[in-house]
């Protein structure tokens, strides 16, 4: 089957296969340092470069993979490339962060070896989701991603981690059942699973509505969208730092990506329903911000801020669906830029938070009192990532917010502007609450542990990437436009 697909399919297979392969290798020969991870991770990046070369030279690509009488459809366009790159960069950083972290912070407890293959599976499943062009592939990718994520969350092996992991597992399973039911209805009604075919065949009606409702409910549960977000913070509170970074920055985005994709294909004119989702997003922005503001633990602050930031993405639904092409065009870029900005910033922030907890030995926000006296690099990384989360210039978060504001204004959604504004203020409130503690002078001096430089560097690099992406945002957006990734 591969012969008929031509040589270029090799690039796709490499992009998908290499992470699992490297994960397996790392399980056999666990890396003790960061540099072997970085150098081996160049391989999937090279494969991605090959794929990018193909896509940029020949435009968007589609592959039909025939397995007996079953046909799968995969495709690659500018958006795919952008998301693949994001996935690989973040996985690379979190993997490079891991050896020192495991060695210093975790020690011998827990099942360290499983980290590597599970990370590999997670990367592959995410890549599969970005590449998928039909519902079966999406389903497979979604399930693989969910299970790998649950597995990663369970690794610490303590009671709280296990309890939170169990809850997450049940929710993920319920989410996938809802997804499967929706897919079953679509397949029953129109007899096809490929997205391009469904876009043409699907007709509005009861079946379509129920199917979309079920699909969205399942996906939004997995994406921790507003009323379904309660599971998020407990899961992060006990997880390992590099796992939290991966989860908050990529896994929740996978579900969001699928949901948005399906809405655009199935119900591109559903203005009112999309407006409702946008309303949920606005509520998420506010509520998540409030929760983060009130959180006592550092990791909870970061975790709840994910809920708030995902709200911005949900606003994208209402700006993309049922609006004029001009609005949709701006919102399209704004949404993906926001996704990239949040992924980089959140990953950087989680790693920085892990470093702060590591160096101060305190998991509470108030434990940071006086931390800035030493001006640890982690605090700087935290701050840089925070700039992007708040959406202050020149970060990517700011540029994305600019585009989203632009789109809301053009669409006449005043309420969304208010939500974006309120979200900015709330995120400033919870971030500067952390910093306020760090500037306290009359605190008792803490014992600082020196953070290994590989951990510092990973956090700083991700944070800087999220900051500088704001100024060079034209580059990823050009990719989005050039290779047929349009809405």
């Amino acid at each position: 089957m591969i012969e008929r697909l031509g040589g270029d399919f090799g690039a796709v297979l490499l992009v998908l296969g290499l992470p699992v392969l490297l994960g397996g290798l790392a399980a056999c020969w666990p890396p003790r340092r960061s540099w072997p991870i970085v150098s081996f991770s160049l391989l999937p990046l090279l494969a991605l470069a090959w794929l990018a070369h193909l896509v940029l030279a020949q435009g968007g690509q589609t592959w039909h993979i025939e397995l007996g009488s079953l046909t799968l459809q995969w495709r690659a366009n500018g958006l795919t490339l952008l998301l693949l790159l994001l996935t690989q960069v973040i996985t690379l950083s979190s993997a490079a962060y891991a050896p020192a972290y495991l060695l210093e912070e975790i020690g011998e407890e827990g099942k360290q070896l499983w980290l590597w293959p599970l990370q590999g599976v997670l990367t592959t499943s995410l890549s599969l989701i970005w590449l998928a062009g039909d519902l079966l592939t999406l389903y497979i990718g979604l399930e693989l991603m969910g299970l790998a994520a649950v597995g990663l969350m369970l690794l610490p092996g303590r009671v709280d981690a296990l309890a939170a992991g169990m809850r997450y597992l049940l929710l993920a399973l319920v989410g996938s059942l809802a997804f499967l039911l929706g897919v079953a209805l679509l397949l029953g009604a129109w007899g096809r699973l490929d997205l391009t075919g469904l876009a043409l065949a699907a007709e509005p009606g009861m079946v379509l509505w129920v199917a979309v409702a079920l699909l969205s409910a399942g996906l939004l549960l997995k994406a921790a969208a507003f009323p379904l977000h309660a599971w998020l913070a407990p899961v992060h509170a006990s997880a390992w730092t590099p796992v939290s970074a991966l989860h908050a920055s990529l896994v929740v985005k996978g579900s969001f990506f699928i949901a948005l994709q399906l809405w655009l294909v199935l119900v591109p004119e559903a203005r009112v329903a999309a407006w409702l989702v946008g309303g949920l997003g606005a509520a998420a922005v506010v509520w998540g911000g409030l929760l983060a503001w009130r959180a006592a633990k550092l990791k909870d602050v970061v975790a709840w801020s994910t809920v708030s930031q995902l709200g911005y993405l949900l606003l994208g639904f209402s700006l993309l669906i049922g609006t004029t092409p001009q609005v949709a065009e701006v919102a399209w870029e704004g949404t993906w830029l926001q996704l990239a900005a949040h992924s980089l910033a959140k990953a950087g922030m989680f790693l920085a938070t892990g470093n702060l907890i590591y160096s101060t030995g305190e998991s509470h926000v108030s434990g940071l009192a006086g931390a800035s006296r030493r001006m640890p690099l982690s605090l700087l990384s935290f701050g840089i990532a925070a700039i992007s989360l708040i959406g202050l210039p020149p970060s990517a978060g700011f540029t994305a917010k600019w585009l989203l504001l632009h789109a809301s204004l053009e669409a006449g959604y005043w309420l969304w502007m208010a939500a974006l504004a309120l979200g900015t203020l709330l995120s400033a409130a919870y971030i500067f609450r952390v910093f306020r503690y760090s500037f306290v002078e009359d605190a008792e001096p803490l014992d600082y542990r020196g953070v290994p430089w590989s951990m510092e560097l990973c956090a700083l690099m991700l944070a800087l990437a999220s900051l500088l992406l704001g100024l060079v945002a034209e580059w990823p957006l050009m990719l989005l436009r050039a290779a047929g990734g349009g809405a």
Partner: protein, 222 residues
């Protein structure tokens, strides 16, 4: 395929599922679940999906059953344990309001699903009704039970109901796509159950240890 047989099979499945979900004793409930899985395999066989029947037998009955019993720490050679997992009641007493609050989404899903199925063109059969019944039962159990193992059972029952509806809808026209989805679903269900079962084992072991630790500390303090 005579509709009478279908109806009979559907009835059996729903009844077995109800037994598996309602039995107060967990070991018996798991045993009922294995029987239920066998009946599902029979149904697949009667619908003409031999491969699915085989898979269901292997994954659904054998492996899932094995994991469930593993979670309960039941060993084939040691008989039924008398541990704290054997009998189990919900720690959180279920008030009417809480129960209703949990049931409402389940009911909404069922109602939506019913409407969507009614709107589909083809004729409904007894198996589809059975599938709906399974989903309803499973959702009900998932909403009201708190014990992790019971929720896993409920999850498996819902999954089976969805598979039945799916194959009933598309089995004849697009067998390949349907098979693909169901096989993936079965695998996921198995993996999920396995992960859940291992977790339950680990959690109860940790709880026992911490209870012992607390008791020991108390003794030491006294």
């Amino acid at each position: 395929m005579p509709p009478l047989l279908d109806a009979l099979l559907a009835l059996i499945m729903v009844a077995l599922a109800a037994l598996a979900l309602l039995d107060r004793q967990l070991v018996r409930a798991c045993a009922w679940f294995v029987v239920f899985a066998v009946s599902v395999a029979l149904t697949w066989w009667s619908m003409g999906f031999a491969w699915l029947a085989l898979l269901e037998l292997l994954l659904g009955a054998l492996l899932t059953g094995a994991f469930l019993f593993h979670a309960l720490d039941v060993k084939p050679w040691a008989g039924v344990p008398q541990g704290r997992l054997a009998r189990w009641r919900d720690p959180v007493p279920l008030t009417w309001r809480r129960g209703l609050l949990r049931l409402l989404p389940a009911l909404a899903v069922l109602a939506m699903l019913g409407m969507a199925l009614a709107n589909l063109a083809d004729a409904p059969g007894p198996l589809r009704a059975g599938g709906l019944g399974l989903i309803g039962l499973g959702l009900w159990a998932f909403a009201l039970h708190r014990h992790l193992l019971r929720r896993l059972l409920a999850f498996n029952v819902i999954g089976t109901g969805i598979f039945l509806i799916l194959m009933g809808l598309v089995g004849e026209r697009h067998p390949a796509a349907g098979h693909g989805l169901v096989v993936t679903g079965l695998l996921v269900a198995l993996l999920g159950t396995a992960l859940g079962a291992l977790l339950i084992r680990r959690l109860s072991a940790l709880e026992v240890r911490s209870a012992h630790g607390a008791a020991g500390a108390e003794r030491g303090g006294a």
